[in-house]
Symmetry: C2
Subunit: 439 residues, 2 copies
């Protein structure tokens, strides 16, 4: 029996350094659990002189990623360089060499995952990706293994620590988005170019991965409705709080078995402030899953960071090592379902979803304005749950807030476009979707 | 390759019926994920005529549990009868027959688990027990697999839905324990004989299992300090709330690597009302885990109930089925560590722990009382953080509340015993331990 599993690392950035540290510092512990050693055989990075606080054995470091893949002593390749083209090419080559792959590259998986999973499946090697969603939280394992007996109804997740930090900051301190972003950048929670996070792209990559795992659907990044958090103001957050809601950037994915259609969307969402998801603040992440047998369950933890992410990489390494010690192959289907059962499931266009809404209008303070707005909403079959007008100046007018009962997004858009054309309305109306059914 | 895994069920009570239903109703889904069918080959219960709303194939039901174990078509035996002697005997016999076992029997595992795990390990068969702790939450899998690279520092769990329901009820409505218990019994959340739950026994069984998984220590039910919730009053809960705490029945387990000693205890605990664990109300369960790489993470969900527990049983069945499809054996060590690395780790006697405390005295309303109490505490090196005396009658005296800084339990007990002997003190003082470091 094999007593030593060889690890190859592509990329010694934050996560690569973290996993090297974990494999080194906790090697005794891991051996006691695994019954075999995990040894870094080869690690590639452009900078190999840099001191990362980890002691690599002689000859392990290289600047050539192909050396990692070609190394006959490497059983498992960790793709931790990020980006798309190079990473895609290297994973292809690793599979060609019969290597198992662990990757944290959510963007690559969400956009090019199907070709990689199909190829890996045909080659009988594993692609594991626990670190790609939710950092240390075992969300991939929970969906691939623990919930194998459940029809998954829905998943709602706070999956981007940067956005959650910014929204928490606006909520707690009432500062505008730009200031909260600047502080996140200062603290190292947001990139200099923050679009990937604050525009919702990162969360959407993760939503695609979770939907594929939950329903056996093909990865569908391009089909997912996506909206970032840059339009969220302290005023909307304050008003949401008064009505018992918090605003979070959520990945929402649901599957309607009767219609065989999915709903997958990423946008700022008002959620009741009584449920556990609403208490997840700062850079923390959480995922709430609803299944037919489990009911509601939630995972909660650090969604990013060197060591939490390294822990997830290690979890995948240990899983694959156990498979190798037992003779190899794919034991758990790569995307939860046997590959021949993975299929395209149509994603409902955003116009076809039905949910509750929050609107904010800034209107000229003149009699009859409210009746005009309400009239247009009524004509579109949108039923108002509550209306609030406060005495505060907003862009030369006054703000009017509304919460609606369930309405169809297409009707909402059409109504808002008519309302927006009224001469008493200043600026574009604000729309935030509400998710009532979380608990 | 084997295309059909045979399941044998011992006991068609709530969980047994739930798993039979799940295997029947979601069989297509499971096959799409597993790539093989799971078929109930034999199911034993004393009552086989009863209508459980599940259609069993002809000849599957029997009143003889030995038939299930002897059935050559049964690969995996589900022990769902509960109790100790019979269940123990049946699991032994199942292992003798080379059957893999799934059990929800925490009491049996906590008290007799070591002999079963050693025997199963030698026989190269799996004993899986996800449903034994935390219902649907994948806590066993998380500790055995996801956190394989982490030194676990501590686990704090709300693991008994009955107690959590009762404490939530007292908190929300200010009713006494007896009334909250009666309501729990009425709603079916508590047994007619509630001792197993409210005395903390069930939680202690689970604490033993989690400690073994987390630190590679032998199951140690007998060494665990245990205290139930029947002494918790609305007054203590109210005062805790005023100071920013909630009272929960917690399983607390910590491992001190330097001293190579564990702290495992189950008692009502005051925790800060800002953290996620404090928001877990009603019958819900949650487990918070602290590891060196992951930091803090939490799982949250239904800790009991027919279908959530059945979901956990199914998770174990699917894991074992995947192993069988890959050739059999033990892929994940039964207790997280290779069996030869599992060892006795001493559990600190409760007198040797050091924590923060809450005391409530009922004292005669007379000058100098507080100074006497404070004097005795001071002599024992117990530093008072805050004192509160309110104008309310309590057993003919007035209540005095105190919060302390960290103190040694032995000192606390000695001080309380001296204080209790003062002639100005009415009744025994109340002591509740505080766990400050949760977040």
């Amino acid at each position: 029996m094999k007593q030593d599993i060889g690890i190859g690392i592509l990329g010694l950035g934050t996560v690569g350094t973290g996993i090297a540290r974990l494999l080194t510092e906790n090697s005794d512990l891991i051996a006691k659990r695994l019954g075999a050693a995990l040894t870094i055989r080869c690690a590639a990075d452009l900078e190999i002189e840099k001191d990362r606080g980890v002691k690599f054995a002689d000859g392990v470091l290289t600047t050539d990623p192909l050396e990692v893949i070609a190394d006959p002593e490497v059983d498992i390749v960790l793709e931790l360089i990020g980006g798309k083209e190079t990473a895609l090419d290297l994973i292809h080559k690793a599979i060609d060499q019969g290597k198992h792959v662990v990757t944290a590259n959510k963007a690559l998986l969400a956009e090019k995952g199907m070709e990689l999973f199909r190829k890996a499946s045909a080659a009988n090697v594993n692609i594991a990706f626990e670190p790609s969603v939710g950092g240390c939280m075992p969300i991939v394992k929970t969906l691939r293994e623990s919930l194998a007996g459940n029809h998954i109804h829905s998943i709602c997740g706070i999956l981007n620590g940067t956005c959650n930090y910014i929204l928490s900051k606006i909520t707690e301190e009432g500062v505008p988005f730009a200031d909260a972003l600047a502080e996140a950048q200062e603290k190292g929670y947001a990139e200099a170019n923050p679009g990937l996070d604050v525009d919702g792209i990162d969360t959407t990559h993760k939503a695609a991965i979770l939907s594929a795992l939950a329903y056996g659907m093909e990865l569908n990044f391009g089909d997912i409705y996506m909206e970032g958090i840059s339009g969220i103001t302290p005023m909307d957050i304050e008003f949401a709080a008064q009505c018992g809601y918090k605003i979070k950037l959520l990945a929402i994915t649901k599957y309607d078995r009767d219609a065989d259609a999915a709903e997958v969307r990423v946008h700022p969402t008002m959620i009741p402030d009584t449920g556990p998801l609403s208490k997840v603040d700062g850079t923390l992440n959480a995922v709430s899953i609803r299944g037919d047998a489990v009911g509601d369950m939630m995972l909660y933890g650090h969604g990013a960071g060197m060591m939490p992410t390294a822990s997830a990489v290690l979890s995948d390494i240990v899983d694959i090592a156990r498979i190798l010690l037992a003779g190899g192959g794919i034991h758990v289907p790569l995307l939860s379902y046997q590959m021949n059962n993975i299929r395209k499931i149509p994603v409902r266009p955003i116009d076809e979803i039905s949910t509750h809404y929050y609107f904010r209008f800034s209107a000229v303070d003149r009699p009859g304005v409210l009746s005009k707005i309400a009239g247009i909403l009524g004509e579109h079959g949108i039923s108002i749950k509550s209306v609030h007008q406060i005495e505060r100046e907003l862009n030369g007018g006054v703000p009017i807030f509304m919460l609606t009962h369930k309405a169809l997004e297409a009707d909402v858009k059409s109504a808002l476009s008519q309302i927006s054309a009224l001469d008493v309305i200043i600026n574009e109306p604000i729309l935030i979707r509400i998710e009532e059914s979380l608990d």
